[in-house]
């Protein structure tokens, strides 16, 4: 019993690091730009696929292709921000939701045409043999995923606190107009934020894609999971997204292990509804 519990907890940690990375990107984009990005899961999928093709087809080193894939997805995010989101900046949430849904449909179905719905295994340099830590089995790629996620989150925190662009982002987050008056280039901050959020989704895609597999439809579920996490932690809250990500990952693993696999994906949604029912004030952090 205890062994199974620990094993599920460990699995949850892997899922949780992916969720946390996704959710941080999503919450950052929402907090700064007031855009609910429905294409977030598709950017995550793109990350996984770019890395898969770089490693499997071109034989590029896994770690290098991780970096290249992230940069490529950041490019996609940047193009989308400049050409589709920028003209609609003051249009309200409904418009931007629709346009990101459009992007999500386009990316997902184009991926289905180009890459077929068959799941693909990403080649990694890690050994396929599981390590044993006490009674818990864990593979090297899972360890790498957890460590990489933590590293990225720490780097992100440092960037937001120490660098100039991080400071500009925090200023814009607090008050767009004042930041603009103080000489912050809002357009640049927005583009950077969207690209950064896309990049974070891509990292999650590569990491979870290497642990499991990549598939064009993997984005849809990922988008809704990221939304759940963001609501659990409070929209626009950075630590909330990280904490919420790990909580959801653990809860799902434990739920799948001890309750029912079929309802695993419903756990998060039930969480969201319970939170809204019993502690709605916690979620009203920032009223519109």
């Amino acid at each position: 019993m205890i062994e199974q519990f620990l094993q599920q907890l460990c699995n949850g940690l892997v899922m949780g690091s992916g969720y946390a990375l996704m959710a941080v990107g999503l919450t950052m984009i929402f907090g700064l730009m007031y855009v609910v990005n429905f294409a977030h899961g598709e950017l995550y999928m793109l990350g996984g696929f770019f890395a898969y093709y770089l490693t499997a087809l071109f034989g590029i080193n896994f770690f290098l292709s991780l970096v290249i894939a992230i940069l490529m997805v950041m490019g996609v995010g940047l193009i989308f921000e400049v050409f589709a989101l920028r003209p609609l900046r003051e249009q309200g949430i409904l418009t931007t939701v629709l346009i990101t849904i459009g992007l999500s449909i386009f990316l997902k179905n184009t991926a289905l045409i180009l890459w077929s719905p068959i799941p693909k295994n990403m080649p990694t340099p890690f050994s396929p043999i599981a390590l044993t830590l006490g009674s818990v089995y864990i593979t090297e790629e899972r360890i790498f995923a957890i460590i990489a996620a933590f590293t990225v989150i720490v780097c992100l925190h440092l960037m937001l606190q120490k660098t100039k662009i991080g400071k500009a982002m925090r200023a814009t987050f607090q008050n767009k107009e004042s930041a603009a008056l103080m000489g912050v280039d809002i357009n640049r901050v927005y583009s950077f934020t969207f690209a950064l959020g896309s990049g974070l989704a891509a990292i999650a895609g590569v990491l979870l894609g290497s642990v499991f597999f990549v598939q064009p439809t993997m984005g849809s579920l990922a988008t809704s999971k990221a939304f759940i996490v963001v609501i659990l932690g409070g929209l626009g809250s950075f630590p909330g997204a990280i904490g919420g990500g790990f909580i959801l990952g653990m809860a799902e693993s434990l739920g799948a292990g001890f309750i029912s696999t079929g309802y695993k994906d419903a756990i998060g949604f039930v969480f969201v509804i319970l939170i809204l029912l019993f502690m709605p004030s916690g979620l009203f952090g920032r009223k519109k």
Binding site: F30, V36, I99, I105, V270, V272, L283
Partner: protein
Amino acid sequence: MKKRFSYFRWFLFLFFLLSVPFLPIGNYQLHIIIIGCIYAVMVLSLNLITGYVGELSLGNVAFFGVGAFTSALLTLGGVSFWVSFLAAGMVAGIFGSLIGYITLKLRGAYFVIVTLAFAEILRLIDTNWTSLTNGPMGLSNIPLPEIHIPYLLNITFSDKIHFYYLSLGLLLLALYVVYRLVNSRIGRAWVSIRENEDLAKSIGINAFNYALLAFVVGAIFTGLGGSVYAHYMSFIGPDVFSFSITVSMLIMLIMGGKGTIIGPIIGAFVFTALPEYLRIAQLYRLSILGIILIFAVIFLPAGIVSMPKRIISFIKERRRQFGTS
């Protein structure tokens, strides 16, 4: 003031609608029209909360699924179609009130995501509650509706024509109800909430109650649409809860023109027919739809209904420019 249609013209229009099945169109075209009618009912419903109250709901597909399953399960249990049809509307309305009561306290992004959460939960329950819904296998052999009046009428809805009249009837009913609601105090209250909620509240409009009303009326009609759909297709599975239906409804609403009466109907028919005719480009169909949605939001935010106006003003503008130069 807009000039009203005279009764004669209304009558002529109704006559045209009733004679559609006898026009030289194929079975396949009639099928598209029936699906278009059902979609039109759903998009009109979605328009109440999203177009008039101004809150984007991604959960309306839940009511479609609930209506479809209620009606299918009841008729499979031996209840008459007409009772099941009304029950479908009622059950969807009850779900609508529950979900609306919880979600409408939230606004903006929260509302969008939480309505989506409810639709997803219902889809998962449907997939996993195999003893009731038969899970991913779905329910098949859903009975056809019948009208049975001794010595007078005995119709089994075995032909597409019957379903055309059924779905048209539902569409006209929905249109009437929506039209009356929108052109009443209630409709004006909805618009005031959309335009400025704080101001609306300050003059004594209970935003929550009015929004809930829009949501529940929409839920009832969506449920009725689900019932007609279930009996028309005679098979339903978990895909009646799928996100792709939500997306279709959104595209129809936005492309038609949200916050108008006629826009959703135009959108529903155009975007039921268009994907069908895009079948030539079968493979790229959904990708193209995604692109259309992106461009529509950027270039035609007020939908197809705004096109005549925009074209006229464009021509006037050009004339003016040439006149002055």
